[in-house]
Structures are given as C-alpha cells and as structure tokens.
Symmetry: C2
C-alpha cells in the first residue's frame, strides 16, 4: 500500500473512532486511562526492550548524546508516563458541560455545550513520553488522535501504541482512538497534512524547522508556536532582590525550554545597581551576557550584542540585555523582537503593572513572577498538549479544554421565527 | 504600484492601526461607532449617488435583478446601517475583561484576559451593508479590518469607507482601522490571503465558490461555512401541530438563507398524519417536495428524490423529505449528508431530545424550534459577522466575542519556579 493510502486509511479509521469516543461517558474514558497506565506498568520490560532497538539504531547513526538522552525510556520514564495518565484521569471532563444558559425574550433557552474537536494529528520529535501525554489528553477530551513521532523513536512509539490499543480494547473503546504512524519517511507527514476531510487539527511540537515545515504544508488548521523569545522587564523602582530572583530563575533554572528568558530589559534608573548584582550570579552560573552599549559599560565581561541577538531564542546559558529609557521602550522592543510567547514585568508601580499586562500582546503576561510559569500544569490547567502563540482558538498553554470546542444548543417549545 | 504592494501596504497600515485600536477605551470605540452612524446620515445623498454609479455599471453588465436588488442602497438601507451601528455601540465590550481568577498553591493569581485578534480580512459579495456591519463589529472588538467587497459594489464601498474614515478621524482613532480594497481585480484577493505577517483571520461571506476559493488560497486561518444543509427531524410521538409550524417556518419564511431547512426527516410512525397535513401547506406555498419512496407513496404530487438531493442546499422553495425507521437513522443521515450547520428535532420524548442534542455534531442543535434561529441576533449574541461550521475557534454564529481571544495574565509577588 502506498504511503498516501496507508495514511488515508488511518485517518478514516480515526474519524470513525472519534464518533464513538465523542459519546463516551467520563467514567469509561477514565477507566481507559487507568487501564493504559496499568498496561504500561505490566509491559514495561517490552517497552524498554523496543526502546533499546531505537537506541541501538540511533547510536549507529551517530545521533547526538542530547537526542539519545531524550529518546531513552528508563524505569523513571515509565513511572512518569503512568503518573501523567493518572493525573489526566483526575482532570475534569469538559465534554458535555453546558456553560450558563440564557433565556431569549421568546422563551428559547440557549446554552453552549462543550464538545470534542474530532480527530487531532500530533507531529513531534524524539521524546516518546509525548506519545503517552498526547494520547491521554486527546482521549480525555473525547478526540481520536494520530501520532507521528520522530522516526528515531518508531519502535518505542509502536510499542506504546500497541499497549494503548490493548488497554482501549479491554475497556470497550475503539483501538483506533490512538494510532501511531508506522512510516519513517517524511512523505507520511505530507500525507497526514492533506487529510482535511478527516483530521480537524494539527499540533506540531519540536524545533522551529519542523514547525515551519508543518505550517507551510498543512491544509488543516495548525496550533503551534515557533519559538519563545521571552522577556523580563525590570522597571524603575522595582524590588531589585525580587527582580534578581525572577530573572535568575527565568534564565538559569532550565535554559533549554521555550519559556526560559532570552532577553532582559532594564530601566536605566536601576541598571547600575541591578546589573552589577545579577551579573555576578550569571557569571557564577556560566551565563554569557550580550549587552547593549550601556550594559557593556556597566558590566565587565559583557559582550556587545549584535542586531541578530534581539530576536534569538538561545535555549542556552546566554542572555541578551538592554537598558531602556522607560517602559514604552520596553513594550516596543517586545512588540518588535518578541514571539508573543511569555513576557514578565518586575515592578512596584500599580499603573505600570496594569498597563504592561494590558498592552503586551503575549500569550502569558506576568507581573513579578518568572516566565517559567507559562506551562499548563503550573497555571493550573493540568497537563498540556503544547503552547500556542497564534491567537485563533487557543493562545498560551493548551490543556484538555483547548482540545474541545462548543456548539450551541437551544431548547424551545415550538418557537418559530417571525 | 502593483496589486501586491498596494495590498501589503494596506495590511501593514492595518497592523499599525490595530495596535492603537486594541488599547482604546470602550467609550472611545462607542463614540466612533455613533459618529460613523451620524456621518452616514449626513452623507446619505453622497453614498446613494455613489451607489447609483455601481448600479448603472451593473445594469450595463446585465447583472441579474436579484443581484441588483442586493446591491441597491436606498433610504431604508441607510437607516438599517445606522440602526446596526447603534446596536453594536450598545453591545458589551469584551476587550479587557478578566474571566474568573484562580489562585495557585504558590500564591500566583491567574486569569484569562479577553483581547482583540488584531487584523481581520473580510471577503464578501454584493451587499454593501456588510461593509458597515463588519466594520462596526471589528471596531467594537478592538480589531482593524480590511474589507474586500464585491467588485460590483466598489463605488458604494469606497463611499462608505470614506465616511467611516472621516468619523474615525473626528473621534481621534486611526483612519486605517477600516480600509476597503480599492482594486476590482481578483488578484487583490490572492494578495490579501498571503499577508500572514499582518492579517490574523480571514472571514469569507458569500456563495460556496467564493468560499472554496478563499480556503484553497489562504495562508491565513479562515472561519467560514460552505453551505447550510439544515435538517428537521420529526420524532415518533412529536406534537404534530408544533412540528408543522416549525417545519413550515424553517422552509418557507426565508428560503434563500443558510439556516433554512433543506431536508425533513420524519419518523415512520407519524409519517402519514404529518406528511399529508404539511404537504397541503407546502403546496399552497409553492414548495416542491422531493421524497424518498415512502414519502412519494404518502404524498400525492411528490417527486422522487435522487441521490444528489440529500446533500443539496436548494436555497429555494424545494424540500427533500425522507421517512426514517428511528432516530438513529435520522442522526446517521444528518452525519452523512449534513453540513454541520443547523439541525432541529421536534419531539416530546425527554431521552431522545437529550440524545439528539448530544450526538448531532452541528454548530446549532435545536429542540422544538425552527432552524431559522441560527443567527447571532436571534440567539442573543448581538449582530453577527458570520457563521462558522469549522470547529476551531468558533462554531456557529460569530458575534463580537468571537472576534477576540484570550491571553493569560498572572499576578505574583516574586514567585519563581522550583
């Protein structure tokens, strides 16, 4: 069978499964989630053995240590998967809930009912635990899902899919609710992105190259973020101790993720005090500073930033620093160089806090807190399927509710239109 | 200047205007809406004169009477435009509102704040009053808008845009908040659909051909519906008097619109009584019936339906009728032939009402009411910008809130991630 017909067949099967899973009771979906968790525990040795095949192949292909690290499933990964599934089972089921009902003058009762989206395609790189997280969230929201992980993780993902399918069967749900694309070749992705009739949404997760490829080739709506060029603005009169903790945390706690700070903007009135203090901590933590001329004047050892530094997502222990004359300059800098992902202000000024929150056009805007909180679990949404920096449908971290939509339901007693 | 550079320049100007309009206070936006209404009143003679130029050109080009009727701006149209603007000014402003705030265990306060989408492109046919409705709704939601009406309405739309621009200037808002594409050629639409950097959303309104063209060529997210193949299912044991009123209203009250009923599904147990009654009324109203074999057996004068009738949007005094064995058959028919637009059940049975509402996957699902209520104003949303049958972002009638999105705002006291 050709790649196209394999994918089309999978998409049709997913569509059919989605019609069934959409009608499932919450208890049945939760039972399936817990059954998947139990099966993963039971089949742990098999899953790890299949993962070893991927690892051997990866080593032969001389894939980087970092990639191999992400690819590896150990006992701890298994336990994380199980814990994640149990947490998703605990989440509130959004499907079927009616938001407030309003009454029209003619007596019609109108509500919005939350419903699944249908079929979701997830295209991602390396880490096989995404397979479990994404399957769990899509299932909870009543959707079918087609997963296309990295080709280097194919044995692992197929082992996980087989485990999931068995658990679904045991709880009376259609096995095709969760499918893994069994094809390494990238033509499978192109084929997936053309299934407009069967797939309702595509979510790509990975590097900017993968995401641009998906956006450029998809005929199906895509929710995504390209990158996170996140800023912290340290305001005039800010509590500099708090500012230092927040900036240090935002840059250093986990520099390789999208919600880490990449650029620090500092009001000129606090620049000298603040920068000399934090520069020492950054230096001790191995953070390289690339600064504007004023930063370089104030901080010994800072490199001069070039134009390309401002829009760059380093994902590393590097930070761009710019001293600004006022908050307007900071907001303009963010609007011009930012990625609409996450921005924070450290301030003690009420009006400026309010204005920053209103005027900064990013998916998460924080006052006096680290950018690292742009994360579904941290914000209280439960597990997340990704972060969107496009405004349509979802903007920011996407949890189980963002995998649903609403329809209108109207209860009447024979009303007709005049 | 080439078409591409004209459009790109407009899109950039819209983006810049959107940054200003997003920050405007509700009072300023409302003042602008009322000022536009006042200017339309004042410039009515000029607008009608410009409309006459379009009409003369249309008559020369031998455009159909129906099209000329839709194109004509008379005193009544002017008053409808003014009334519409005043109603939009009365609507609640969604922008800046915070939904419920929740507290995280670490003390972070998290809310969602409603924000404008940015720049919206509207591509529509003939009717110039859409120019005013769309401009008003986009402005109220804090968006800039680029309007590309039918080429046959260009003089009218330019006159309306000039009137709007003047009113915007008088209230201190950027004139480029509302722009009309001054190019008749369709290449202008293609150019518009490529402005991914500046335009956030495209809404096409018109016939299926126009909408498919937009969807096939847009690089920007599109909200749309292709057609409305709306069904009413008359259930076993339904109140047949109510059923008759609802079905007659859904078909006859305004047959040329997307929420008119196109197919009637009738439970076999009530088919004889119900069909013989309503067939007389349909006959008197000039409605042609195309029926399944059982319908043809019961209704004298019914034509035999062919396969093509079931997925057809007649937009005319024609109805397809099918007798079904049970509600499952009706739901399956709707899933297969429907357009996810509007479906109604007439029933007296509590369980079946509940199940129909839950299982029918359409943007508006009604119990004991006419399909004609799928309309923003009728459902209480205020004016509508269109109806979406795609599930992402909005599903059903789209009012001012659907022209916005939410971002997360987080208020902390120095929280960092552990």
């Amino acid at each position: 069978m050709s790649v196209e017909s394999t994918i089309q067949k999978m998409a049709l099967a997913a569509k059919n499964a989605s019609l069934q899973i959409a009608k499932c009771a919450t208890s049945q979906k939760n039972e399936a989630l817990l059954q998947i968790a139990a099966q993963i525990q039971e089949k742990a040795a098999y899953i790890i053995a299949q993962n070893n095949k991927d690892l051997m192949r990866a080593k032969e292909m001389e894939i980087s240590e970092a990639m191999i690290d992400r690819l590896t499933i150990g006992d701890a990964t298994i336990q994380t998967m199980i814990k994640g599934l149990k947490e998703v089972a605990e989440l509130e089921d959004p499907v079927g809930s009616l938001s407030h009902t309003w009454l029209r003058p003619n007596g019609l009762q109108v509500s919005r009912m939350r419903i699944p989206l249908g079929v979701i395609g997830i295209i991602y790189e390396s880490r096989p635990n995404v397979t479990i997280d994404a399957a769990g969230l899509c299932l909870k929201a009543g959707n079918a899902v087609i997963l296309r992980g990295g080709s280097e993780a194919l044995y692992s993902n197929q082992a996980l899919a087989a485990t999931i399918n068995q658990a679904l069967g045991q709880t009376g749900l259609p096995g095709n609710t969760v499918q893994v694309v069994p094809i390494r070749d990238r033509t499978a992705v192109n084929a997936l992105l053309c299934q407009t009739e069967y797939i309702d949404l595509i979510i790509p997760r990975g590097g900017e190259g993968l995401i641009r490829f998906v956006v450029d080739n998809s005929k199906i709506p895509v929710l995504k973020h390209y990158k996170g060029v996140c800023h912290v603005y340290v305001d005039d009169g800010a509590n500099l101790k708090k500012a230092e903790e927040i900036c240090f945390n935002a840059k250093v706690q986990r520099p390789g993720v999208c919600n880490a700070m990449e650029t620090m903007l500092v009001h000129k009135s606090v620049a000298q005090n603040f920068l000399t203090g934090i520069a020492k901590r950054f230096d001790a933590a191995g953070v390289e500073i690339r600064g504007c001329p004023e930063t370089c004047r104030l901080v010994t050892g800072a490199k001069a930033a070039v134009q390309d530094d401002w829009p760059t997502e380093y994902l590393d222990l590097v930070i761009a620093v710019k001293v600004v004359d006022n908050m307007d300059q900071a907001i303009d800098h963010i609007a011009y160089y930012g990625s609409d992902h996450t921005e924070a202000i450290v301030t003690s000024d009420y009006e400026r806090a309010k204005r920053f929150v209103r005027e900064v056009d990013s998916s998460v805007v924080l006052v006096n807190a680290s950018t690292r909180f742009n994360d579904g679990a941290q914000l209280g949404l439960g597990a997340e399927i990704g972060i969107s920096t496009s405004k349509l449908h979802a903007f920011g971290p996407m949890g189980v509710e963002e995998l649903t939509t609403t329809k209108f339901v109207v209860f009447g007693d024979g009303q007709i239109r005049e």
